[in-house]
Amino acid sequence: MSDIETSASTAAETAREALQGILDRMGIECTVSAHVDGEGQITLDVSSDSDLGTVIGRDGDTLNALQLLVSVIVSRRHGPHSRVVVDAENYRARRAESLQARAIELAQRVKATGREALLESLHAYERRIIHLTLADHPDVYTYSEGEGDARVLVISPRD
């Protein structure tokens, strides 16, 4: 193993232990597995027979909170190089698909009405999914405005 691979798998083990430790103390029965992709991204996958809804939370709120804390713990211990994603039974992919579908639906409405549509309370990576989905759309363009939690994504008709 190269040094980079060794350090990525050590970081992945730190991440896995931190997440399993948190979930155990939340009283959630589950197992966490970790894998590292070619770019060094650590993905932690939570599987649970009974408590998956608690692990995910509303719109992924709990998953995102877990991901933030585990990311900070890993970067404190191993430096800021490893991106950490916390997932549970492909929630991230399912959420991305539903955001893409919503983007296309809203774009059609914007085209039909000629009026802007707003998407509020999305995370940065969720806005990114919408921007990318509509990047080549012939009839609408997208931008974001506002700061922090008040940041809003706007889908606007092209002239």
Binding site: I22, G27, D61, T62, L68, L69, V72
Partner: protein
Amino acid sequence: MPRDPSAQPSPASADCDAAGASDAADVPPFEELVAFIARQLVDSPDDVSVMRVEQDRSVVYQLRVGPEDIGKVIGKGGRIANALRQIVRAASSRSRRKCTVEIAS
């Protein structure tokens, strides 16, 4: 016909106590959850302590860390503190008493 006094619901009934007791039982202590996370975020894990404060309808976990570590458990714009709150809220979601986290200074 005289009313049977035992059929009267008594205002200070044992029900309240029973509900209180089962509440305490079905809210597992999350001190260790908060402390486990906080110890991994700070430079001085030995200075981390968590106190459980019972209130009528909620339980507050007061997190105390060393003075140099306060920023590390709050985070930019309160991101870390909010993530801690979200996790404790999720962990307590099945009980009737809501749990939250305060950072004591």
